[in-house]
């Protein structure tokens, strides 16, 4: 169907369109670029916050405190029983000495008061880490209650208040994120589809002339689709570049923040290319049908 002449024609028409619509093309690319930048900033913030949350979740443990003077063997039994519980990722033995040292570190300068102690008042403990998807208060409560019944276990605790408050916070964050994300996404789609529509309207005359001389719909459409795709690539590339600049500045003040991985960057640009092409396709098709 598509011979060499058609291919040449399509390449010629597409480059012509991109070259000729310099100013209006530039303007739409800038508008789209900035719209996408807003979306990207939003996504990057979401990514960073959720990473902080994930990291925080990893440091949430259930502590199973052991009775004083317990032998190695019963400790090992308790440890294995904990490991047998579905959803438990790991169990680490924390000796009373370690616990005291950590406590000392946490106290910092005021650690002197510990010197007053004649013996170590802290118990040995087993630190239980859950799988991330099960790091929630209901599950931790279950572990703590179960372990408390066992022989050799003095007590089992987790930071109930903290975990519950954290859970609320995360839920709130994701809900607002979702709502905001939807609004941003819809506005971006709106701005971009309008930009595409306007740029096609401005070429209504040439589309009509093309039809007049016997161009098939696909002949008319293909250059528009390619143009849309290229605009998608350029504007999303621009948005990524701007985001990187914003990110570099932000990093000075928030050293821990991360950027998208390369797969994410490429994926986003490819997605925008497809969206640009699809947007142009839909806009021109509507226009050709009349």
């Amino acid at each position: 169907m598509a011979g060499i002449n058609e291919v040449k024609y399509i390449i010629g028409e597409s480059t012509r369109m991109l070259k000729r619509g310099k100013l209006s093309g530039l303007i739409s690319i800038i508008i789209m670029g900035f719209s996408l930048l807003v979306l990207l900033i939003f996504l990057l913030i979401t990514l960073n916050v959720s990473m902080v949350i994930d990291r925080g979740m990893e440091e949430i443990y259930v502590y199973v405190y052991l009775q004083d003077g317990l032998d190695k063997e019963p400790v090992e039994i308790i440890r294995n029983r904990l490991l047998d519980i579905e959803g438990v990722k790991g169990v680490v033995f924390v000796s009373k000495e370690e616990a005291l040292k950590k406590f000392r570190d946490q106290l910092g300068e005021s650690a002197e008061i510990l010197d007053e102690l004649s013996s170590n008042p802290l118990p040995d403990a087993l630190r239980v880490q859950m799988k991330p998807e099960l790091t929630k208060s209901s599950f931790m409560k279950k572990i703590a209650q179960t372990a408390m019944e066992w022989k050799g276990v003095e007590d089992a605790r987790y930071g109930k208040k903290w975990v519950e408050r954290g859970e609320k916070l995360i839920k709130g964050f994701y809900m607002t994120g979702l709502a905001l994300g939807l609004i941003v996404f819809l506005s971006v789609i709106f701005v971009i589809s309008n930009t595409v529509r306007l740029s096609i309207l401005s070429r209504q005359k040439s589309v009509e002339i093309m039809k007049l001389v016997g161009a098939t719909n696909s002949y008319i459409q293909v250059p528009f689709i390619i143009e849309g795709g290229v605009q998608g690539i350029i504007s999303s590339g621009l948005a990524m570049l701007l985001l990187w600049i914003v990110f570099s500045f932000a990093q000075r003040y928030l050293p821990g923040i991360v950027f998208f991985q390369i797969e994410g960057v490429v994926g986003f640009i490819v997605l925008c290319a497809l969206l640009g092409a699809a947007g142009s396709f839909i806009a021109v098709r509507k226009f050709l049908k009349r």
Binding site: G3, I4, N5, E6, K8, Y9, G12, R20, K205, S206, E208, I209, M210, K211, L212, V213, G214, A215, T216, N217, Y219
Partner: protein, 262 residues
């Protein structure tokens, strides 16, 4: 060579409503190969609508249009571009692409028909010479006069060697001098075998030529005067062409017309 009297285009019992009113009502026309026909009527008579039906920019409400092998009631929409490539169309407002040179405007019609650049270049010399614009091939429409722009449009219409040229008020934007030049060009094109159907509101302009004239008023054909020398079309055409040049533009000496519109 196709036979002289073969019907190449026909409109049969065609009616078309635009809004509530009939724009065209029960129109019947047949065009023979190589014929030159004027379609005359005041503005709003339905000339443009009829031409639109013929290049199938719009479809009739009832009746049928046949253009070569394309039948309006029996064709897919997707074959319309094919029909357009075999039909030359020109307008009052030229409809050229401003951002493209004369050469590119004409080449576009050939490109969309799948013609390669080498062949386009080969053909272009001939086409642009015929319309007298070879020396201006790299200029843009904006730098050309109205008459020259219409010549570009004509060149584009001829690019794919159509059997029929539809002209919708092609001299409407042009002064009398240029109008005459464009008409001369259309006659010349016709004498090399392309049928021409030219719509115009200007009765005085066309009735001196001795061509077939179809009068359209309020969407109906009020008169369709067939050519007198139908049998020897080519001779008649070249005769009229000579006549026309000899008699000058304003001279209405020829007695074939009834003078109804005087």
């Amino acid at each position: 060579m196709p036979k002289q009297n073969r019907i190449i285009a026909g409109v049969y019992h065609l009616s078309k409503k635009l809004g509530k009113d009939f724009a065209l009502r029960d129109i019947n026309i047949q065009l023979a190969n190589g014929e030159f026909v004027f379609l005359v009527g005041p503005s709003g008579a339905g000339k443009s609508t009829l031409l639109k039906m013929m290049y199938m920019d719009d479809l009739p409400d009832s009746g049928q249009v046949i253009m070569g092998s394309y039948v309006s009631t029996r064709m897919k929409r997707s074959t319309i571009p094919e029909l357009r490539r075999k039909t030359g169309i020109i307008f009052q407002d030229f409809r050229l692409l401003e951002g493209r040179t004369v050469f590119e405007n004409v080449a576009l019609a050939m490109k969309v028909a799948g013609t390669g650049m080498a062949e386009i270049k080969r053909e272009m010399t001939d086409i642009l010479t015929r319309v007298g614009l070879y020396h201006k091939r790299y200029q843009f429409p904006g730098s050309l006069s109205g008459g020259e722009q219409q010549r570009v449009a004509i060149a584009r219409a001829l690019a794919n060697k159509p059997v029929i040229l539809l002209a919708d008020e092609p001299t409407g934007n042009l002064d009398p001098e240029v109008t005459r030049e464009i008409l001369e060009l259309l006659f010349r094109i016709n004498s090399s075998g392309t049928a021409v159907l030219m719509a115009t509101h200007d009765v005085d302009l066309v009735k001196s030529f001795g061509q077939r004239i179809i009068y359209l008023r309020d969407g109906r054909i009020v008169k369709d005067r067939e050519m007198l020398f139908r049998g020897n079309l080519r001779d008649t055409l070249s005769d009229s062409h000579v006549d026309y040049r000899a008699r000058k533009f304003t001279d209405n000496a020829i007695g074939e017309d009834n003078g109804k519109n005087e």
